[in-house]
C-alpha cells in the first residue's frame, strides 16, 4: 500500500466520523448520512484499486478514471455551490423578517398627531 493511499483513507474516515457524530434533526439528514457512508465505501475502494475507476470510465466512454472523477467532482461542486446559494437566500429572508419584526416593535411616533 502507498503512503498516499493511507493518508487518503485516513482523511475520509475522519470526515465520516465527524459527519456521523453531528446530530441531524430531520429524516433528510439520515439520507445524507447513508449517502455519505456509500460514498466512503466507494472512495476507499477507488483508493485501493485506482485502475478500476478507469474500467468504469471506459464503460461511459471516458479514457481515464482520473478524468471521470474530475467530471464528477465538477458536477458535485456546482450542485454544492447552488444549494449553498439557495440556503443563503433562505436565511437572508428569515433574517430580514426578524429585523423587520424588531423594527416594527420599536417604531417611533412623532409628538403631535
Amino acid at each position: 500500500m502507498n503512503w498516499i493511499q493511507v493518508l487518503l483513507i485516513a482523511s475520509v474516515l475522519v470526515l465520516l466520523v465527524y459527519l456521523l457524530r453531528s446530530r441531524g434533526s430531520a429524516r433528510s439528514k439520515a439520507w445524507v448520512k447513508v449517502g455519505y457512508v456509500l460514498f466512503v465505501i466507494a472512495g476507499i475502494y477507488a483508493i485501493l484499486r485506482p485502475d478500476d475507476t478507469t474500467v468504469v470510465a471506459n464503460w461511459l466512454g471516458v479514457d481515464r478514471g482520473t478524468d471521470l472523477l474530475e467530471y464528477v467532482l465538477i458536477i458535485a461542486f456546482a450542485f454544492t455551490t447552488l444549494s449553498t446559494y439557495m440556503r443563503f437566500k433562505d436565511i437572508e429572508l428569515k433574517y430580514t423578517r426578524l429585523a423587520r419584526a424588531v423594527a416594527l416593535q420599536n417604531a417611533q411616533t412623532p409628538e403631535q398627531t
Binding site: K89, D90, R100, V102, A103, L104, N106, A107, Q108
Partner: protein, 237 residues
C-alpha cells in the same frame, strides 16, 4: 405650488411610505413637502448611520428603524406593514427619499386610485404626454427593460423601475416583497400579475437633481436586478 390644507380630512386615510438610507441632508425637506398635503408619513430608516431617522422624526414622520441595512425592497415592505396596522389606513403610497418625486404627482395618482377601477397605480416617466427629463441612455434602458418583461407588457406598463406607487388596502394586505435589494420594483409588478391586482399607469415626472443622480442606482445594477428576479421563484417559500 399646491395649496391643500393639512387638516383636510380628504387625505387622512393616506399613508405615505418613504424608505430612506443615508438621506439625512434631504429627508427633512422631503417629508415636510409631503406632509404639507398628506399628514401620515412613515419613514423607514434602513439602518442609516447619519441621523436620517432623527431628521425624519423631527419633520413629523413616524419612523421605523431597521437595526441593520436590509435594502430598499425590505424597507418598503416594512413601511407598508407598519402603515397597514394604523387605524383608518386605506390608501398607501411609496415615495423616494431623495426628493426626485413630486407631491403633485402623488395627488394625481391618488385621485386616479379613488376612481375605484384600480388597485395599484404606478408612476411612469414614459406614459406619454409629459415632457420627460430622463437622460437618454437611462430612458432607453428603462424602456427596453419594461418592454422585455412579459408581465410589464401584459399589464401595459412602460416604466420598469419607478419608486412612485399608490395602492389600496387589498394590495397592502397581500404585499409580500422578498427581494430586499433593488429588484423589488420588478417583484412588485410580478406580484401585481400573480395576484391579479388591477394596475394602471399615470404619467409622472422625475426631478433629476445632482443629488438624486448621485444617489440613484447605476445602470449596471440592472444585471443584478435581472438575476434577482430570475431566482426569486426558486428561493422563496
Amino acid at each position: 405650488m399646491l395649496r391643500i390644507n393639512t387638516s383636510d380630512t380628504h387625505y387622512r386615510d393616506v399613508w405615505v411610505v418613504i424608505p430612506a438610507y443615508r438621506e439625512a441632508t434631504v429627508i427633512g425637506d422631503v417629508i415636510t413637502d409631503v406632509r404639507a398635503v398628506f399628514p401620515h408619513v412613515v419613514c423607514v430608516d434602513d439602518g442609516s448611520d447619519d441621523g436620517t431617522g432623527e431628521a425624519a422624526l423631527r419633520a413629523g414622520a413616524h419612523v421605523v428603524t431597521h437595526p441593520v441595512n436590509l435594502g430598499q425592497g425590505a424597507a418598503i415592505q416594512t413601511g407598508v406593514e407598519y402603515a397597514r396596522r394604523r387605524p383608518g389606513a386605506a390608501v398607501f403610497a411609496t415615495f423616494d427619499a431623495d426628493g426626485q418625486h413630486r407631491v403633485a404627482d402623488l395627488v394625481t395618482m391618488i385621485a386616479r386610485l379613488r376612481t375605484g377601477d384600480a388597485d395599484l397605480v404606478v408612476g411612469s416617466r414614459f406614459a406619454g404626454g409629459v415632457a420627460t427629463t430622463t437622460p437618454p441612455l437611462k430612458r432607453f434602458v428603462l424602456k427596453t427593460a419594461a418592454r422585455l418583461s412579459s408581465r410589464n407588457r401584459s399589464l401595459g406598463l412602460t416604466d420598469a423601475h419607478n419608486g412612485l406607487r399608490v395602492f389600496d388596502r387589498r394590495v397592502a394586505d397581500e404585499l409580500d416583497i422578498t427581494i430586499s435589494g433593488m429588484g423589488h420594483a420588478s417583484e412588485f409588478i410580478a406580484l401585481a400579475h400573480e395576484k391579479h391586482w388591477r394596475t394602471v399607469e399615470v404619467a409622472v415626472d422625475i426631478r433629476y437633481t445632482d443629488y438624486s443622480k448621485a444617489k440613484g442606482q447605476p445602470l449596471l445594477n440592472g444585471v443584478n436586478i435581472v438575476f434577482d428576479t430570475l431566482l426569486r421563484r426558486r428561493t422563496t417559500r
